[in-house]
Subunit: 169 residues, 2 copies
Amino acid sequence: MTARIPLTPLTAAAFAPFGEVLEASGPPDRVINQGNCGRFHDLATLVAEGGGRIGVNLFDALPRALPYTLDMVERHPLGSQAFLPMHPHPWLVIVTPDEGGIPGRPQAFRAAPGQGINFAPGTWHGVLTPLAAPGLFAVVDRIAPDGEDPAANLEEHWFEAPWQVVEPG
Amino acid sequence: MTARIPLTPLTAAAFAPFGEVLEASGPPDRVINQGNCGRFHDLATLVAEGGGRIGVNLFDALPRALPYTLDMVERHPLGSQAFLPMHPHPWLVIVTPDEGGIPGRPQAFRAAPGQGINFAPGTWHGVLTPLAAPGLFAVVDRIAPDGEDPAANLEEHWFEAPWQVVEPG
């Protein structure tokens, strides 16, 4: 039997154990450009340890459908990883708590249009899962120093039995 | 008489004197996530001098229409500034060369859907000008240290006569 993980809305409070929700919510921190632009300031705790530095990448990912079969999660011990959709569509954010070095039960969030996230270093998470095409995201994460072993900042865990991420109810 | 600046397409070559175009163009640098995602790697030269650090912000800007009246440009001497649209609409990127500390004749680019940019430090540029609502962008730029004079990283120049940014032809 496959265990079911119902989707829940992505909120800053629910996501707090895993990182930050990056969104233009409420009044802006500053109004700039002669009143024409709101700045929501310094939303993400960016981390790049082990000789890395913060950089900007674009990810172009295949859209997925629900129910979504989750068979693995991964984490990056040396750096944070922010995902910012370059489209106005909802997308899936899947995380798990860490239980002594092993991922616990997954939680699945539906990011609303305009919501990005920043994973704290070491957070178990599913791979990038858009729900519509094109699945284009800006990704602000740790750029490894030249010659680093790719395994230094990537740990994967494959579940013995996959989970099914489903609509709620 | 108001001088007219015709829009041109945003390309990496045309924009090279001012910074970088951030786009998923051509084959990805790496294919990740079991073949489901292309990574366009480390696209932006991020700079934060003078005790600042790189951070992530969201900007929500009022959409503008063409012809667009350009009466000022600004620049940030201590840091780069990347703009990544969180929508699939074209938007305006306006820059000028520097001519002995004064902005020269503006150039106006129409960024295609999926194109972001990164301004090199000290690049004269217009304020954020989306062409559709919501004008939501992720902005990766220099976060000032606490207590810094805002003028330390912002220089504005108002033109004696405004420019008109117009459709080509």
